[in-house]
């Protein structure tokens, strides 16, 4: 069984696409689609990597990331952030919040896969 990835994203088609790509590469993909309880879900599942959207219903990806970085168990958890808002200030906010890797939508599947592989050594 491969390493686990938790995908937090609210757009069904994107969830489907990323799940397909990662599953095919041997990753165990779990998904979650709102911001409210995302932190709890992360703590419960203890994934090896999180792929995090920014514009989530309930709570923004930045807030979720900040909370995770404040918690002992998830302080060093690799987080790949994906956002459709590709401005410079969005990247800066993500970096201040402690992101591991930041990518702008739309992305190429190969890029996402490479980033995931890079962030979680097998």
């Amino acid at each position: 069984m491969g390493k686990s990835v938790l995908l937090i994203e609210d757009e069904p088609n994107i969830i489907e696409a990323i799940s397909f790509i990662l599953s095919r590469d041997g990753w165990a993909v779990a998904t979650h689609s709102n911001g409210h309880d995302a932190v709890d879900v992360v703590q419960a599942r203890q994934p090896d990597l999180i792929i995090l959207d920014v514009m989530l219903p309930g709570k923004s990806g930045y807030d979720i990331l900040r909370e995770l970085r404040d918690l002992a168990g998830t302080r060093d958890l690799p987080v790949l952030m994906l956002t459709a808002r590709g401005q410079v200030k969005d990247r800066e906010m993500a970096e201040r919040a402690g992101v591991s890797r930041f990518m702008t939508k739309p992305f190429s599947n190969a890029e996402v896969l490479a980033a995931v592989r890079d962030l979680v050594p097998r």
Partner: protein, 896 residues
């Protein structure tokens, strides 16, 4: 006859010469070449108007009748010049520092600037001076007559009266020309002063020439003359102590108080230091003038036939001895004495009459204020000129009415006694701070009543103005009130009696009333300034000018406030003070009000300084102030222009700032909008890219997977298209470029169409819609397609977001006043209060919706409804989500 013609010619030439002298002096003064005009000698000589024709001719007659008593007339002024020069100095200093224009001005100014007091003093001065002017006219006429008698020739004019009229008219003309050339605020008249200084030399020279001729030409030398004097009646004449004392006092008092003396001594004074020269030079002048009086009298009494008038010995003695040239010189001397007196007296009196009587009356007569031009100077000048004419005319009338007889001869001393009444008030005013206006009033009134009652009226002789019974028994038989024997003290010389009682009671009443009453604040202020003038005027060499009185303030205020405003202000203040006329008294209250009004125009500091300069007696002339005021008016114009410009700039700056803020706001909105559009575009593109790569790169895909992924790409492409459509639609609507396709149709049909469109496809069964068709029979005239678009949007939202287990939408139609309403209410959870505020914003998506829309629907609805003249809004409190579409009733007609 020939001699007489020569005399007239000489006279004319002399008059022309005087005009030229005065004219030259004026020109020199205007050109600033006034060095020699400022000589103390000119000042000293100008003082010689003290010796009028009355002294020039009359002193000899006086000596012939009363011996050395004539000397008292010279001793009085001599004592004043030598012993009282410190009083004169104080008067001169006060005159300069307070800008005094006349003795009336000084007295009124000292006693709280009371115009009533000024009017009183003016009237009394006119009464006291008119006979004196008449006397001068008479002397000129009689001296003409002496010449014509001597040659037994008819005068070139019909009668002495018309002769006097000519002289009077000429003098008035001269005074008007040189006394009112311009409204010199410091009231200096260089031309006049120069002319009278020249005349002073002429009369001194004439009298000396006659004297020398009499002593050495007729008398045979000094020793011979002295013997003849001893032998004559004059030599045996005994001195009356009381009369001497009274006369010396009287002439001393008159020297200070006579309006014409005050004019030359105080008003025309150029420099205080001139007094020092005059204090010994003028007594010297008087001494020389009096030197040959007795010899001429003695020789005249011997030479002339008994009964001839000794008053004209100065003229008749040379004529009788055939010395026509000398006689002519003597005539010119007398002429000079008479004319200089009339000119200066007219000048002094006209200033008083004009300032204190004519101007106040004129200002109140021109009451409305609208007719008054901005500059009252020409009015002041006209008033001065009329006053001069009136004063000289009065003298002429007096001369005519008095018959030109001997009644005039004694008038000199009577006049002196009259004006001497000013003395206690004058001296009290400058040395005693406790002196009050009431005291001055009372003292002057008492003094003048006694003077008139005891001296003036009886002087016309028993039976003319006073009945013999009154003179003998007193009014109503009250013996102690007999005009010439108050309290039964008889046997006194009437003149001494009048002087004693009038001066004593005048002084007593003045002091007592002053002590009883309290001076008003302005009186105290003025009193302090007068009494302590040396402390208040630190710079005696400075400019000087006329008294700061209401007239000056008025002129200044008109320059600054404009004629109308200034007049209204002064009028209002005068009314408030309860003063008759239009000029308020410059009370501290009024000055404060005026200062405030001026401060509105020129600023507080300048206004304070200006009023301070005029009223407080500082060292800048009113003319300077007026110049400042003119400049200020100009500056104010500039400054108001600048102000307007700067206001304009401020307005522009404000507009720019607003535009800038708006642009910034728009720019921020644009950034935010772009960011949102970017997000909305990237999201479907992400799916499209991801699945297209999957389809491309994955070989082992099942056919089902391929179909599914292709469908996703298709759906997302449609989503993108819809988003772009919405964006374009919104852009058109927001720019107002939308063309409405107005049609008339049934509301029910529009709803039918909207429901059909919105519910097409997957969700048809999901949403249960209830309508009340009966309400929907409404004909509409509007863009039915756009309205349908709104309805589709609202129905679609209910379909997408209603979270009830069995979603239901109720569409109801109603009417309020002036509007048709269509409500869409579903049975879901509704929208939270917080979110209600933003749902109509672009890209606002609320709640945990995984919406397929871009969040532009409601924003578009709102824009459409705004274009249709209606509105769409959220209806809170309906249970589920509730939207109300409002259309103006004008567009809707209930179907029949």
């Amino acid at each position: 006859m020939g001699t007489l013609n020569v005399l007239i010619a000489v006279c004319l030439i002399y008059v022309i010469f005087l005009f030229l002298v005065a004219f030259g002096a004026e020109r020199a003064a205007m050109a600033g070449r006034s060095g020699w005009l400022r000589s103390p000698w000119v000042y000293t000589l100008s003082l010689s108007i003290y010796s009028t024709a009355w002294t020039f001719y009359g002193a000899v007659g006086y000596a012939a009748r009363s011996g050395l008593e004539y000397l008292t007339i010279y001793i009085g002024p001599t004592l004043v010049m030598i012993g009282w020069w410190w009083v004169l100095r104080k008067l001169v200093r006060i005159g300069r520092s307070q800008r005094i224009t006349s003795i009336a001005d000084l007295i009124s100014s000292r006693y709280g600037k009371s115009n009533l007091l000024a009017v009183g003093v003016t009237v009394l001065a006119v009464i006291g001076t008119t006979p004196y002017i008449a006397l001068q006219l008479q002397s000129v006429t009689v001296s003409f007559a002496v010449f014509s008698d001597a040659y037994e020739a008819a005068l070139p004019v019909d009668s002495p009266e018309s002769n006097a009229l000519l002289v009077a008219a000429g003098l008035a003309l001269f005074t008007i020309i040189f006394g009112t050339r311009n409204l010199d605020v410091n009231e200096r008249h260089h031309g006049v002063v120069m002319a009278i200084a020249v005349e002073a030399i002429v009369k001194l020279f004439a009298l000396l020439a006659v004297g020398v001729f009499v002593v050495w030409g007729i008398g045979g030398g000094v020793g011979e003359i002295l013997q003849r004097i001893d032998a004559s009646e004059i030599g045996s004449w005994q001195m009356q102590g009381d009369r001497w004392a009274a006369l010396i006092f009287l002439s001393a008092a008159a020297f200070v108080c006579l309006p014409r003396m005050f004019q030359v001594m105080v008003v025309e004074n150029e420099d205080e230091s001139h007094l020092r020269t005059a204090s010994w030079a003028f007594p010297g002048y008087l001494m020389v003038m009096s030197l040959f009086v007795v010899p001429i009298a003695v020789v005249g009494l011997d030479l002339m036939p008994p009964g001839s008038n000794p008053d004209f010995f100065v003229l008749t003695v040379p004529l009788a001895t055939g010395n026509n040239g000398l006689a002519m010189l003597s005539f010119l001397g007398g002429f000079s004495s008479a004319t200089s007196m009339v000119i200066v007296a007219a000048l002094a009196l006209s200033t008083m009459v004009s300032n204190h009587i004519v101007m106040p009356i004129w200002l109140s007569a021109s009451g409305g204020g609208a007719s008054v031009s901005g500059d009252v100077r020409h009015v002041v000048l006209l008033s001065r000129r009329i006053s001069i004419g009136a004063v000289v005319a009065l003298g002429y009338l007096y001369y005519r009415l008095s018959g030109g007889g001997t009644a005039l001869a004694s008038i000199g001393l009577i006049s002196f006694t009259g004006v001497a009444q000013f003395l206690p008030v004058l001296l009290g005013g400058i040395f005693w701070r406790g002196a009050t206006r009431m005291g001055a009033f009372a003292g002057l009134t008492v003094g003048f009543v006694i003077w008139a009652y005891a001296l003036l009226l009886p002087s016309f002789g028993a039976g003319t103005l006073m009945s013999p019974a009154l003179l003998a028994e007193g009014p109503l038989g009250l013996g102690w009130l007999r005009p010439q024997a108050f309290f039964g003290i008889e046997g006194m010389d009437p003149l001494v009696h009048a002087i004693l009682w009038s001066m004593a009671l005048n002084t007593l009443v003045f002091f007592v009333v002053s002590l009883i009453g309290f001076p008003s604040p302005i009186e105290r202020l003025q009193g302090a300034q007068f009494v302590n003038v040396y402390e208040h005027s630190s710079n005696p060499q400075s400019w000087s000018g006329s008294l700061g009185q209401s007239e000056d303030l008025m002129v200044m205020a008109q320059r600054i406030l404009g004629a109308r405003e200034a007049q209204q202000l002064f009028e209002r203040e005068a009314r408030r003070q309860g003063v008759a006329g239009l000029l308020p008294e410059p009370s501290p209250d009024f000055l404060q009000v005026l200062e405030r009004a001026l401060a509105g125009s020129v600023g507080a500091a300048t206004a304070h300084a200006m009023i301070g300069q005029i009223v407080g007696g500082a060292s800048v002339s009113v003319e300077d102030l007026l110049a400042v005021a003119d400049e200020t008016a100009q500056m104010m114009e500039y400054s108001s222009q600048l102000e307007a410009k700067s206001e304009e700039q401020a307005r522009t700056a404000r507009q720019l700032r607003q535009a800038n803020e708006k642009l910034t706001r728009i720019s921020e909105q644009k950034d935010s909008f772009l960011s949102q559009v970017s997000h909305e575009l990237r999201t479907p593109m992400t799916s499209i890219r991801a699945f297209s790569e999957i389809l491309r790169d994955s070989e082992r895909l099942s056919p089902e997977e391929k179909i599914k992924y292709s469908s996703i790409i298709h759906d997302e492409a449609i989503r993108l298209t819809r988003l772009l459509d919405d964006l374009l639609d919104l852009s058109v609507l927001e720019n107002g470029q939308v063309n409405l396709n107005v049609q008339t149709g049934q509301l029910a049909e529009v709803l039918d169409h909207a429901l059909a469109t919105a519910l097409t496809g997957a969700g048809t069964d999901r949403l249960k819609v209830s309508r009340r068709r009966a309400q929907e029979h409404v004909r509409l005239t509007t863009d039915l397609d756009r309205l349908s678009q709104v309805f589709i949007n609202l129905i679609g939202n209910a379909q997408k977001y209603c979270d009830a287990e069995v979603p239901a939408l109720t569409i109801s139609v109603g009417r309020t006043e002036g509007a048709l309403i269509v409500d869409f209410i579903d049975n879901g959870a509704g929208i939270s209060d917080r979110d209600q505020a933003v749902i109509f914003e672009k890209f606002a998506r609320v709640g945990e919706q995984r919406a397929s829309g871009a969040g532009l629907g409601l924003a578009i609805c709102r824009e459409i409804m705004a274009r249709l003249g209606g509105d769409v809004s959220y209806l809170p409190g309906q249970g589920g989500a509730a939207f109300r579409v409002t259309l103006p009733a004008a567009l809707a007609l209930a179907a029949q």
